[in-house]
Amino acid sequence: MSASDLRALVMPKWGLTMTEAVVVKWLVDEGADVELGAELVDVETEKILSAVESPASGALRWRAAEGSTIPVGGLLGVIADADVPDDAIVGFAATFEAEFTPETEAVAGDEPSPQRVEVDGRSLRYLKLGEGGEPVVLVHGFGGDLNNWLFNHEALSAQRAVYALDLPGHGESSTNVGDGTVATLAQAVADFMDALDLPPAHLVGHSLGGAIAAELAGTAPDRVRSLSLIASVGLGGELLAGFLDGFVTARRRRQIKPVLEALFADPALVTRRLVNDVLQYKRLDGVEDALGAIARNLVTDGQQTVSIRECLATYPGPTLVIWGAADQIVPASHAAGLPEGTHVEVIEAVGHMPMMEASLRVNQVLGAHVQELPIP
């Protein structure tokens, strides 16, 4: 970084409805050296508490005050070399503030919003961001929805269309999950791709979504341009005892909160709003039955009954596996013994939701995985 190279640390936009967030706590001192990707500051939206990572290496020369509310795109900090004069830093911050226009409500209204498609008698909700290129399809995990990708969706969509869908029985899609097997859910994703007339896509699956993506890669490899599995089920026996049952049967805040906390290395990430969002979804008629049917097909006597290893062995395309080293739900040791050529990325101090807890790193790895492939 040269002396003239000052980088603004700005408030990220996590999800379509985010307009601002509060600076909760700085994790590094003013003046400290920071590395690209280091967590610098915890900010809290009305939905979630998360860390903002450094966009560059250098010294953190200026910081917004803790407790202040910063709009999306607004200045959180300034990264520059230690020898850049203080005047230049102050001037940079002042110029940034003077030229910055927060996103207005009207602009927010023009943004893409989730759409629906009818597939095999089900209504599936999905959100498409970006245009062109080889599409990416994001498949969430058990009990999740398309909002699980709020830290990733936009970042991945710079050069291509990225679709995130709500699986049957999840989010705002129909609650009919059929027999609740991975094969049925994989067929629903294939039907979804057909309905939108998608060319072969880069499938990114988290947890249950990983098994679904792998199933599709095994049964219809020509539909799958590449495979990315994040903390996937189907690669080993263990799955945190009581997690699925706890998630399925919890009806109250005090019941669901410890279940959700097990998903993250840092339980403070589970805000009251996140808990309420999950409860609102779980209260819908039919959801408990749908989740129960899926859970019964995943685990028997505390052991996973689904294996995707055969699918991975036969799938000829490139495969990426991402895991959080501190995953309490499905241990990272399941990433061992994968077919030769599989790119495995294990991220330290991160739990079962690496795409949320280490979004910058996951976005880099995923972005490179879908980017570096030769054009077919």
């Binding site: 705002e172 009806r251 109250r252 805040r253 005090r254 009251r272 609102q280 209260r283 819908l284 008629d285 039919g286």
Partner: protein, 337 residues
């Protein structure tokens, strides 16, 4: 998919979806079909405020317009519930409970217990309550503490359209008698409501605002006024945690006590008069189980112990407002032992 509805529309949708789902759900009450006796649905008003509008056209004689005889039709609803139907009876004003209290308090509430747990009484009594509409002493009361006091009854008072739909569906599916209180001043409140059916379990209070300085425990219309006060106080550097009880029986004691332990300072806001009230009950609960956490006396903001006055200027004074709530919070926040 969620969209914006008023609380009145949310109640109508809950009734509609449950009647559609379960043919044993029936509605009865004064003017719930409505009209002057003319033929046809065009004359169906759907109750004095239109809460049940449109249901007669879909469900016909599953809506029963009753004579102005609460003792008879509340009794009939209780009997119908005991013999297999799921009636939702509308007691137009909760102030009228006096003439049918035996049917609720000494019959419906007792059946499960007097018949060895083998009798169920899945009746819902929907009823309007609350002051502020210049309706005088006999149409403005908030008598929920009377029902809360009776074992065997469940008492629900929704604040948002989302809660109104989910709690009413839960009430209809519940196998015990439920008194469902609808504040007249909340019918036009708007909020997001999913199109699908859903139910909210009873005994789950809602923390509608988080804060570490003072807890405001509240219910019904008072939740909105407590939130308004909390907004003002935030500008003064006092962060309030506002709890909406949602149901007073069952009562979510854990959330109330958790909040008391978090802040150590508590204001209870209740539109009803103060003697033997929900406010005093919450206060006793916290004094008994979270005494060590308290850093200031529990303070109650309630109506005075008088009937609701008819004169507008007096009625406005009678009801707790945001200014009175904020003043109480400032006293509690500034209290030093």
């Amino acid at each position: 998919m969620a969209r914006t509805l008023t609380l009145l529309q949310a109640i109508n949708e809950a009734l509609d979806q449950e009647m559609e789902r379960d043919s044993s759900v029936i509605l009865m009450g004064e003017d719930i079909v409505g009209g002057s006796g003319a033929e046809g649905e065009m004359d169906a008003w759907g109750g004095p405020l239109g809460v049940t509008k449109g249901l007669y056209a879909k469900y016909g004689d599953r809506l029963l317009d009753t004579p102005i005889t609460e003792s008879a039709f509340i009794g009939a609803a209780v009997g119908a519930a005991a013999s297999g139907l799921r009636p939702v009876a509308e007691l137009m004003f909760s102030d009228f409970v006096g003439v049918c209290f035996d049917q609720i308090y000494n019959q419906a509430a007792k059946f499960r217990y007097m018949f060895g747990g083998r009798a169920e009484t899945p009746v819902v009594v929907r009823t309007m309550y609350g002051a502020g509409l210049r309706a005088a002493a006999q149409h403005s009361q908030s008598p929920y503490s009377i029902f809360t006091h009776v074992p065997g009854l469940k008492c629900v008072m929704p604040v948002t359209p989302y809660d109104a739909k989910g709690l009413l569906i839960q009430a209809i599916r519940d196998n015990d008698p439920v008194i469902f209180f609808e504040h007249k001043g909340l019918y036009e409140t708007e909020g997001e409501v999913p199109e699908q059916s859903y139910s909210i379990p009873f005994g789950e209070a809602n923390v509608v605002r988080e804060g570490d300085d003072v807890s405001i425990i509240s219910l019904g219309l008072m939740v909105h006024r407590s939130l308004a006060a909390a907004e003002t106080l935030a500008g003064e550097g006092i962060q309030c945690e506002v709890v909406d009880l949602r149901t007073t029986s069952p009562l979510d004691e854990d959330t109330v006590l958790e909040s008391a332990e978090n802040t150590g300072r508590m204001v209870v806001v209740d539109e009803a008069p103060p003697r033997c009230s929900v406010a005093t009950d919450i206060s006793a609960l916290v004094a008994q189980h979270a005494f060590d956490a308290l850093e200031a006396p529990i303070t109650l903001v309630t109506a005075p112990h008088t009937p609701v006055p008819f004169a507008g200027v007096l009625e406005d004074q009678y009801m707790p407002d945001a200014a009175r709530i904020a003043a109480a919070v400032r006293r509690v926040a500034g209290y030093a032992q």
